[in-house]
Symmetry: C2
Subunit: 578 residues, 2 copies
């Protein structure tokens, strides 16, 4: 496309509300523009990148036997009532009434719709397996949209759903999708990790996330040294790399002492000259699904240096949502002291101990009297524990759960998620088939998402520099950016347009900057827009029979003879794409 015939407007300044580089750059390049909170228009260049990524996704899914359809964005309440998610989904599901006062919602996900679709068709084991997908706009009523497309309300997603006769076959389908996803993100040209993940509100029990690594990623990932184990911190087992330093000590006698004004673990560690990891902290939570009606307090013991993983606690207590912490007065009522002076000794509520505390001996805890602590505390001897269980957030340096060295920490942007669902939806909605013996069986399901618009931004979050974006060839809006420095010089434009036409004819799409602008302006825009290869055609070069090419990623500049330029670029292109 020629710049003059397209629609490209770049900005000098980033918008005030853009916090991360990819958001700033996409707005400055005119590729996205906010219409309202969490809602963006995709400009022509952005749409090209999105379509290129969608094409990769389609090709790999179709290779894996998936069939594409398209489901509606608006869904009737009745369908969501069948699974109970009309109520369970909370406020992220945008509900509205139409002019006839009927209840509808904007589809945030399509398990109900697809299950309704297939239950009308699939009758027999001979109809299975099936895997259906769509690439479609979704809406999730995020309370605080941010980071451009990263956490938007309206977004483009690919969602696929597999249907199988039994769990073995369902896990085969799951593995096929795992393989397809790896190919998709490899072709995208992104540095990504696959991690074990929490299943969240979708349900089911096997799930993995695909993350594009980037410093600003909202997710915290833990990966073993050789990469063989990887998990989202939400679900990562936490294993201390070594036992507590006190683990071999003889038990000493309890000793209460004054700790006036020492409210935090940090205060206590400083004052007692004990490392935080050798202290024990006591937290109080409600094990109730309706804490306003019934409190059901429990105490949690963690090493002073550790953080509670609320998902692990939620799962331990069998709650619907992450549990609430007791407030100061509730803690006082339960323990006899305000937070900062609480401990397990003498409590008459269930006490859950994180595994990290298990090997500790003779430790310090609050005395359940304000401004007092006790030292030389030991579980079993001084108080009873309900259960010793993994409750903390894993962190860098922990032992890898597969036994292979220590965990390393990364930040990631979740761009894909695959779930083995089992019968959660098919059972609720009566999606069954007749097996070989004519007996009715419930269909096994899986679901598989890729955030299309988010992935495209995530690629830029991973690939940019101070001057602009650095598109991988697979989804660059254009492969080649040709700058004519002297558009009115016939020789120059002859060379430029001949190259432009030849490359386009080869399927190597070119953006031609034919504006009457200074070279500096053109180069600045070329750097900002970040197409993989820039070709500069100028008067002096053409006099010498040469044009210049610059690879955006490496900055490597080369002068190429005009007679070789087409061949050179075709060869370069061949190395870029999978």
């Amino acid at each position: 496309m020629k710049w003059s015939e397209g629609y490209i407007y770049t900005l000098k300044d980033s918008p005030a509300d853009a916090e991360i580089p990819s958001h700033k750059l996409l707005v400055r390049a005119g590729m996205i523009r906010k219409l309202g909170q969490g809602v963006h228009t995709y400009g022509p260049l952005m749409l090209r990148s999105i379509r290129k990524f969608e094409k990769i996704v389609r090709e790999e899914l179709e290779k894996s036997g998936c069939v594409e359809l398209l489901m509606p964005l608006v869904h009737p309440k009745e369908l969501w009532d069948e699974t109970g998610r009309w109520d369970k989904m909370g406020k992220a599901l945008l509900k509205f009434k139409n002019r006839l006062n009927q209840d509808w919602c904007l589809g945030a996900t399509h398990e109900e719709v697809i299950t309704d679709f297939i239950r009308k068709d699939i009758k027999s084991y001979r109809d299975l397996p099936k895997n259906l997908f769509q690439v479609a706009t979704k809406y999730r009523d995020e309370i605080r949209p941010r980071f451009g497309l990263m956490r938007g309300r309206e977004f483009i997603m690919k969602d696929a759903y597999s249907f199988d006769a039994d769990p073995e076959s369902a896990l085969d389908s799951y593995k096929k999708m795992h393989t397809a996803y790896c190919r998709i993100f490899e072709r995208l040209g992104a540095n990504f990790r696959v991690v074990k993940a929490d299943s969240g509100s979708i349900g089911g029990d096997t799930s993995e996330e695909f993350h594009i690594l980037a410093d600003s990623g909202e997710d915290h990932l833990l990966v073993s040294e050789d990469g063989s184990f990887a998990a989202n911190v939400e679900i990562c087992p936490a294993i201390d790399f070594e036992d507590a330093s006190s683990s071999q000590e003889e038990l000493k006698s309890l000793e209460e002492f004054d700790t006036p004004g020492l409210k935090t673990i940090a205060d206590l560690a400083n004052s007692l000259k004990i490392s935080e990891k050798d202290l024990v902290k006591t937290l109080f939570y409600s094990a109730s699904n309706e804490p306003e009606k019934e409190l059901k307090p429990v105490a949690i013991l963690l090493r002073g240096s550790d953080e509670l993983n609320p998902i692990k606690l939620k799962n331990l207590l069998g709650l619907n949502d992450e549990p609430l912490m007791l407030n100061d007065q509730e803690v006082k009522n339960v323990s006899g002291a305000f937070p900062g002076s609480c401990g397990p000794v003498g409590l008459n509520i269930p006490i859950y101990m994180d595994t990290g505390v298990a090997s500790m001996k003779n430790y310090v805890v609050g005395a359940n009297k304000d401004n007092k602590h006790i030292r030389n505390v030991n579980h079993d001897r001084d108080y009873k524990v309900e259960k010793i269980v993994d409750l903390r957030l894993a962190k860098e340096g922990d032992k890898s759960p597969d036994g292979k060295g220590q965990l390393k920490s990364y930040r990631g942007i979740e761009v894909g998620h695959i779930f083995y669902l089992g019968q959660v939806y098919s059972k609720a909605m009566g999606a069954t088939y007749l097996d070989k013996n004519g007996k009715s069986q419930t269909i096994e399901m899986g679901c598989y998402g890729i955030g299309i618009s988010r992935s495209v931004q995530a690629v830029i979050e991973q690939n940019h520099d101070k001057d602009g974006m650095i598109w991988p060839a697979a989804i660059a809006p254009y492969a080649v950016h040709i700058c004519i420095l002297d558009p009115k010089d016939e020789k120059v434009s002859g060379v430029a347009y001949s190259l432009y036409n030849d490359l386009n004819a080869q399927g190597i799409d070119c953006l031609m900057d034919d504006r009457d602008e200074r070279p500096g302006v053109k180069f600045k825009d070329a750097d900002l827009l970040g197409m993989p290869l820039r070709v500069t055609v100028g008067g002096r070069g053409v006099e010498n029979g040469e044009v210049e090419i610059v690879e955006r990623k490496t900055g490597e500049k080369r002068s190429i003879a005009i007679s070789d330029i087409k061949k050179t670029i075709i060869e370069w292109w061949g190395q870029q794409t999978l």
Copy 2:
């Protein structure tokens, strides 16, 4: 695609709520399925047809210099307030509140969004003209969705918007789009008409509709014999082909007579032995925008055989909406008689006469006394007319407004609409540019829609028979439908798969019915699905070195030597596509 690897489920029976053939057939073919009123899932075959049509639309628009982007489906209220359409659009605009209690709507059209988009970029006359388009899902809260995709709530539409410096250039853009639309519908392979149209709520003053002709079409079109004039009945000028038979009579004397029980024009015509077109009927409407506050009654005179065109009356009276008829008691109050006995003589309200009445002499009207009429009535002599004006619906047999013969009547399905908007939106939203003299000017706009999903169904409404759909090659889900009659016979499947692979490699996409089903079942499904060419590969034929091809449209059957089949089909395909 092989049937066994796809997702195709056909039904024997049509759904109870399907009224027109295309709706029944698309549902029976599994191509669409209702999720809720006016909301459908597009099955895999339907999605292929939709995508093929989208591709045609994209190609032709890009050839015309349009650039694609993608705008959001959800829009903030603030933007629609700028043009006043938040209130004016009525209930078809689905409004909702998000979780933060902010007002949003589902985009039924995108004039506000695109004008907001471009006003931030376009600064100078050098930035013009531009034409931007999208292919996107829209939502219109239809009160009574019906006919499948024809009048759906959620639908896929292509909408384009042009931006120009002045009216001349804007009309050039309009004409370019007219040309592109003609090419699009020609390539689609549909029998269509372009007609002059009413601009409706979009505003502006030049507009044409593109209609696919079909008996069940909701729109009534009038076309001159040579096709040079065509209009939607809503806007078509109505011109009597000849003057009234009484036009040359001498004026006779008024004569009141009894007409007990003769309430309708038909009653009167029968009783008096006068043709309906030689009677005059008097209708009463309110010329008020708020008839509940102020009635402003007016009388309308039409020939007994004619129907009022409410849009013409609305425009004549300068109203916002189509005017309301007075109720019986209001008519009595105004005229002195109940409807059936009313006439213009003695009325003291404005009287508007349709041009069809102008040449009539000595006609019969109600006497404004119940059960009495008067004959030999003549305007000017017996009562005064405010204005003689075209107020009736045009009809077959009328004089063509371009003077070329008589109008013919067609039914059409509106699939495209182009509008010259002028400055309606750009003025309201402050979309301006600086002209060559540095003076701020308001941008001229046009907007251009194609109902993508509706077009695909309309094609089937026009092209089907009792056995099923008849797809034009351009948007058939697959070009060729291969039925293997003996899938277990190696020779047969060797021939079939060799053809299947060769044709697919040539870009002629094939559906292979590889099911273990009787030939009758396969043929019935092939007829229902309606791919343009069916190829039957059976044991006996292969023995004889032959396969059979059947063209779906003509039913023409031919036996082709296996050695020639590939060449024959490639040639056939070359004739199908534009």
